[in-house]
Symmetry: C2
Subunit: 190 residues, 2 copies
DNA sequence: AATAAATACTTTACTTATGAAGTATTGACC
DNA sequence: GGTCAATACTTCATAAGTAAAGTATTTATT
């Protein structure tokens, strides 16, 4: 992603900026404050990781994610599955595949039983490269979050799990919401 | 943004996928698991908000953020300040300003005392439009996170504050702003 | 078997971001 | 006062994403 300081909605609240997440201190607006802070944390880390991947490995986050998916599935994945798992459109998968194939990290393998589809798998070169990067990547995350007490991390992990649950619950019942329907369609689509 | 399932690094851990955040269940890797889950939550919400902004208001998140910044500063901001606050590059600010100016939401005002710079401020039209959108926006966030108990939200908010503290402590030399990013790149040269 | 519908991938046009280079202006120093 | 670096903004090339239309192939229906 980019490094954006999204959604600084402090104007509607209080004023006492500290970086991304602005001076949100009113007593109401709990959800909004929470979201802004969550986003700030996420953006901070993502920006840093993205930057380091680029500088250190000449790798974009998109490609790294792509390789990570394949690494979990050594048998390979079809492109539509990649599209779904990575939550990007098919056109994008085509493009990323082209690039990574050219770099020798992945290979398209034609499927005799269904000649519409390809199975993409890591090449040995791609696997080695990814494993090397992933190791360093984890060390970065550990470095970035290392300052947090283990107990806090554990709590945070659980609370975020709860949040995911809430979000997912909404998603499954969202059939009635036109916007949500559209969003769902967009994600799962081609 | 896009809706990407970033950083599915489960291969290096366990295997038991549940959406974005994969089957990370090893006993080590606490930091990585935490980061993946944080990212999953953030991406989920962001995707939904982005989609709704687009459908309901024909507004991108980038522009909405931009307007939010200006709304906090009715006196206006210079473009380089916007760039820093929004954590995007100057070129991007130029582009966003062009669009929003064309839409009549903001105005560039030349500065006699420094003819290199402009101050950008909301027009009355832009202010009204933003306030209307921001109200709806908050209702969306409340809807999305409404399923969480208040106590959980409060705890989560505090823990994320702790995380921000940790991140900020590391990056006192400003890892998160584009200028620093640029400087860093110059040093390591790729 | 013929046709229609769905699926898998590609292509195209467009959007938004980035990084780097370019232009104009200011400020600091000798 | 002239030069040189820094600053503010713009422009340009490129990357990565979307949506929508196109092609080939498979599956289902009748």
């Amino acid at each position: 992603m980019n490094a954006r300081a999204k959604l600084d909605l402090a104007p509607l609240l209080a004023d006492e900026p500290t970086g991304l997440e602005a001076g949100v201190s009113s007593d109401d607006h709990h959800s909004l404050r929470l979201w802004l802070r969550l986003l700030a944390c996420s953006t901070d880390i993502e920006t840093e990781i993205r930057q380091r991947l680029r500088v250190r490995f000449g790798m974009t986050l998109a490609r790294f994610d792509y390789l990570a998916q394949l690494h979990r599935h050594p048998e390979g994945l079809r492109m539509n599955v990649l599209s779904r798992n990575l939550m990007v459109t098919g056109g994008n998968v085509t493009g990323l595949t082209d690039e990574l194939e050219k770099a020798g990290f992945v290979a398209r393998e034609a499927q005799p039983e269904d000649r519409r589809s390809f199975v993409i798998a890591l090449t040995p070169k791609g696997r080695k490269a990814f494993e090397r990067m992933a190791t360093v990547h984890e060390s970065w995350v550990i470095e970035l979050l290392g300052g947090m007490p283990d107990q806090s991390k554990q709590q945070l992990y659980e609370l975020l799990g709860q949040m995911r649950g809430v979000l997912a619950a909404r998603g499954t019942t969202a059939e009635t919401d036109p916007a949500a329907k559209k969003a769902a369609k967009k994600v799962s689509k081609k």
